[in-house]
Symmetry: C2
Subunit: 246 residues, 2 copies
């Protein structure tokens, strides 16, 4: 997928001809629109205009908008798989999982639509499956039951995709209208939390400063580490220990 053959792209220059596409150009332009303007901007009409053709032509390559997004995510996930391949060879499997998860998250941050759609997907396309497999292979090296491994991989993937999808949401319009920078706006929000008062909102009051200066990537990594610390603990206890709460 990520390494497909070259495509004819466009008709050469021979007089006035009709537009000529290929699955690769369609996917490429679709991804370009998604990257530039986000998921809602990917309409068949916008894509057709970009391809210099008619709307209905797209349906020759793709049978619905969902399938278009599906193929686009598969394509991107394929690239991530290639990029993260070197990360599986470290000695500590949990460190490897961490590295892969962070890399995946990075891509989600770079392409918000990607994380958004991974969530919508049942996640059973080949490349998503391969990512699941890759994480799972690391966990196979730990002393865990199959059930524990299955649960752990599922949880990690859910966490990564969940946080990414959360971050993918467009910022509140109050921010867009304010014209403030990100950190200025966070400072305003922090101040608002501080003013909530320590009686009824002791926690918000207490962490207002953290809220005001927080970095999304730090928050993500910190939660991921909690998850992986718990996992390490579970592995140290060994596969015999109970999987359920007391």
């Amino acid at each position: 997928m990520a390494a497909a053959g070259a495509a004819p792209a466009r008709t050469p220059a021979r007089g006035r001809q009709r537009a000529s596409h290929s699955l690769d150009t369609v996917l490429g332009e679709a991804i370009a629109i998604l990257d530039e303007s986000g998921e809602p901007a990917l309409t068949f009409r916008a894509l057709a205009a970009r391809l210099g053709g008619g709307v209905a032509s797209i349906y020759w390559y793709v049978s619905s908008r969902d399938e278009l997004l599906e193929k686009a995510t598969e394509e991107v996930m394929g690239r991530v798989l290639v990029e993260t391949e070197p990360l599986v060879h470290g000695p500590d499997p949990i460190a490897n999982v961490r590295a892969i998860a962070v890399a995946l998250f990075d891509e989600f941050v770079r392409r918000p639509w990607f994380g958004q759609f991974m969530l919508r997907n049942s996640g059973m396309q080949p490349n998503s499956m391969a990512m699941f497999e890759r994480l799972g292979q690391q966990l196979m090296r730990l002393d865990l039951t199959p059930r524990q491994q299955f649960h752990a991989v599922s949880s990690i993937v859910s966490y990564v995709v969940g946080v990414a999808a959360d971050l993918a949401e467009p910022p509140p319009k109050e921010f867009l209208e304010s014209g403030l920078t990100r950190s200025e706006f966070l400072e305003v929000l922090g101040q608002r939390w501080r003013e909530l008062g320590p009686e009824r909102f002791p926690f918000a009051h207490h962490v207002a400063g953290e809220m005001a200066v927080h970095d999304d990537l730090d928050v993500f990594r910190s939660g991921l580490d909690l998850l992986l610390d718990g996992l390490r603990l579970q592995a140290e206890r060994g596969a015999g220990a109970s999987d359920a709460a007391p």
Copy 2:
């Protein structure tokens, strides 16, 4: 919110009159549609038909579809807050967090649209804020820095909402068309994983059986426990320990 005053509901019976609404009835019927038929089914036309009135009337109470969903989620979150209030008084703060998270997740399972929209939200409505506060107050009882507390609550919320949003997606149409029961379909999927072969897909092969019999609630709880185990570990190390990776 959750306990608002009674509404006039509908005009009595005096001849042929025009419909009469109120914010409460609008929200109530909207939630009813969402519960019965899911988020895409909530259209202004469907809602208007249900209210026995015209489409444009709804705009008197709500200025957009997003605001309608926002108010609906606030309403439901208000109810969850009331229901989970008793859970904050246990001796172990982490156990309390667990109980609250599970209750919240239950509501997300009961109302898929609720989790879906919580994700879309910046989560800064009063009742969402109150839920954040409630979880945070528990964590304030642990020996953690404000930053660790802030990160932990954010991660837990992200995890809960993320898994819920994942589960909220409609099942693949292959399942709907198959006419199989859930467990029968899972068995088919498990078999498919098993057949992937242990050479190229050792992990999928290895956990195929777990996949075939897994329960979504178990998977959720198991990941939540990993997260909370990591958190407990962090608290035991004390607030002095480093928050970042070495």
